[in-house]
């Protein structure tokens, strides 16, 4: 009986906080509603009012379930925090997909859910049809989702908390973030948003001016600037037109977008340290060191490989296309400055392999980027060096190995093990994705490229992700994007929690 009571109590806590997060995101639908109103897109406005009404009803009812037994909000345990983070992402995926479906730009609800999860996880692959005729309201919504997803829905909800609660940190960690910028989690969440909003103003203004200079109309240039900033900063890769970044035909526009997505792929802790005057952190940090080394090597190798194949007629074209796409892949942004099929037809096996590797490595931990992260790669590499050094040194020497990430940390075996396990999890997801692709008849390189892009939350496509691809692959890709973004643990906690519940229910009955 006591176990059953505990279970009810758990459900109430999870329901209460999930409802709270749903409510916050539902309230944000006011922005696309206003956009549609300004542009007189009446049907789109109605789509968003319907979606927000459904979302608000769901959110309020979830809160009510949690409130009935006077939930003690300070008694949130790790399992609750993880379950809230992972469950709210699933609930929100369905709710946020409603305006997509009502717009008539998707073939099915599954396609709509796919696009929402792609936005939330900052992946950036799209199944939406006829992007060039999309309303301003829906464009605003898709880019907002990717921007919010980059910082995290839980982070947003915590920012708006009136009071600090004991469970906030557990939910924050559940969303795949662990950096503490200030001593309390609410303050940290606010700092994350502050950093993002300042960059939003600077980045949008820069792209707006450039947009006008390259021939866009001032109003249109503003919205393009806002969308491209949101996509770049969150390392998402969405764009308002079919041609993605190629629509603008401008090297300056691409360069500014590239600077923004590189900045977006850095740890929020690093941004905060630089703001506080610790500029040397850029050079000392294990993550930036790892990023600079891997991106430099990848660019050099890709340039050499593609030069051998004579893919580009001159150095300017080569540098512009290769460096942009390699860095877009490495930072897990997914903006493409060439067509998807050109990767398969022109880049050759070597070029594709380089992209697969950098897509899997990804950006920094606690940033908007995906992949198994530079921090983990750095830790595992340092761990390997440490083991070799230990083997070569005298048994009596007790040297402590350290690495620098915001502050100095001791390189412990447990940390190396945890990092290696997460990397293994990513590789398993990638392997299954590749197997599934080949099962459905795609070539090995195409399947591996797309699986790496999905697992690393990148969004570059080689042409596999289309509305006509098999349903099983769509479902698997949704799961892979979700697992990759939340970094497995919280999703495993939710699965374990549901599994445990079913087991107990079966025992009782």
């Amino acid at each position: 009986m006591s176990k059953f009571r505990n279970r009810t109590y758990d459900i109430e806590i999870i329901s209460y906080y999930t409802g709270y997060i749903v409510l916050i995101v539902a309230a944000l639908m006011i922005i696309p509603i206003t956009t549609s109103f300004i542009f007189k897109e009446w049907n789109v406005m109605l789509d968003f009012i319907i979606s927000s009404a459904i979302s608000l009803t769901v959110g309020l009812n979830l809160i009510m379930i949690g409130m009935r037994k006077k939930v003690s909000k300070s008694n949130v345990q790790w399992k609750h925090g993880f379950a809230v983070a992972s469950l709210s992402w699933i609930v929100l995926m369905f709710l946020c997909a409603i305006p997509y479906r009502l717009s008539g730009h998707t073939r099915s609800l599954l396609d709509a859910c796919f696009d929402v999860m792609s936005g939330f996880t900052t992946t950036g692959v799209v199944l939406l049809q006829d992007l060039d005729h999309l309303s301003n309201g829906l464009n605003m919504w898709r880019h907002m989702l990717t921007f919010i997803g980059g910082q995290g829905m839980v982070v947003l909800a915590i920012t708006l908390l009136v009071k600090e609660t004991g469970g906030a940190y557990k939910m924050y960690v559940g969303e795949g973030k662990d950096i503490e910028l200030v001593p309390n989690v609410k303050g940290t969440a606010r700092q994350i948003w502050k950093i993002s909003m300042i960059y939003l103003m600077i980045g949008t203004a820069s792209l707006w001016i450039i947009g006008i200079l390259i021939g866009l109309k001032p109003l249109s240039a503003f919205f393009h600037a806002l969308y491209i900033f949101e996509s770049s900063w969150s390392t998402g890769g969405f764009a308002p037109n079919t041609q993605n970044i190629m629509y603008y035909h401008s090297v300056i526009y691409e360069t500014v977008a590239m600077i923004i997505f590189i900045l977006g792929s850095f740890n929020f802790g690093l941004h905060y340290a630089i703001w506080r005057g610790k500029q040397r952190e850029v050079l000392k940090n294990i993550e930036t060191q790892s990023f600079f080394i891997t991106s430099f090597l990848a660019c050099i190798l890709a340039l050499a490989g593609l030069a051998k194949l004579n893919v580009y007629p001159d150095a300017v074209a080569g540098f512009r296309r290769i460096i942009f796409n390699v860095l877009s892949a490495h930072t897990t942004t997914g903006f493409g400055s060439i067509y998807a099929r050109q990767f398969a037809l022109e880049w050759g096996g070597f070029g594709i392999l380089i992209l697969i590797l950098v897509m899997l490595i990804g950006g920094s931990a606690c940033s908007t980027a995906g992949g198994f992260k530079g921090l983990r790669v750095g830790i595992v590499c340092k761990g390997l060096v440490m083991d070799v050094k230990k083997l070569l040194s005298s048994e009596r020497s007790m040297k402590v190995y350290k690495f620098h990430h915001i502050k100095d940390h001791i390189l412990e075996d447990s940390l190396i093990k945890t990092s290696a396990i997460i990397i293994c999890c990513y590789l398993v997801i990638f392997t299954i994705g590749t197997l599934l692709g080949t099962y459905y008849g795609y070539s090995l390189s195409d399947s591996a490229f797309e699986a790496a892009s999905i697992t690393g939350n990148v969004g570059l496509s080689i042409g596999v992700t289309t509305p006509s691809m098999p349903v099983t692959m769509k479902v698997y890709y949704i799961i892979a994007m979700y697992l990759g973004r939340l970094e497995f643990l919280s999703v495993f906690a939710l699965i374990g929690y549901i599994g445990g519940g079913i087991k107990r229910y079966a025992k009782i009955h």
Binding site: I54, I63, S135, M246, L345, E346
Partner: protein, 168 residues
């Protein structure tokens, strides 16, 4: 006179039918251009599609983008030619349907490796037009009913909060 009219008519029909055939065969799909980019690089091709987005003026030239339903491509076009286009496709407008003949570049040297078309001629096949948006009445009814649901849920929540406070 009758003989002359008949001959003229036959010639006109044949010419028209022939030109139709040629056009249908010569028009390439954008996806086909990308798939066969190496073979078609530097060759004159014809594509037909809707002009989308907006025109971007760069000096004496302009960039326009066209979408033929398979994909979209940028066209580098003389400013005076671009003036012919009146409607650009977006949510509110159906863009002009144009037929463009030009040189296809797989990785354009002039434009930093862009896949583009350098246009020689542009022909408006069908004029674009504003899209009339009809407000959906079922959506208005659904909105009203769902708003009521939100209101009821809100009232229940306030009641729960009140009763919780009373118990405390």
């Amino acid at each position: 006179m009758q003989k002359f009219t008949k001959t003229l008519l036959i010639i006109l029909i044949l010419t028209f039918a022939h030109s139709l055939n040629v056009n249908a065969e010569d028009i390439s799909e954008i996806n086909d251009l990308i798939e066969n980019a190496k073979e078609l690089n530097g060759q004159e091709v014809t594509v037909q599609g809707e002009v989308i987005g907006e025109r971007m003026v760069r000096g004496d030239y302009s960039w326009i983008n066209i979408n033929d339903g398979t994909n979209a491509i940028g066209v580098w076009i003389n400013k005076s030619e671009a003036d012919k286009i009146l409607y650009y496709g977006n949510y509110k407008n159906q863009g002009d349907e144009v037929r463009i003949t030009g040189i296809f570049n797989r990785a354009c040297v002039e434009h930093g490796g862009d896949v583009d078309l350098h246009n020689n001629s542009i022909e408006i096949v069908q004029n674009g037009h504003p899209v009339n948006e009809r407000i959906s009445y079922p959506k208005i009814i659904t909105t009203s009913i769902l708003s009521l649901f939100v209101l009821i849920s809100l009232l229940f929540l306030l009641k729960t909060i009140k009763s919780n406070k009373a118990t405390d």
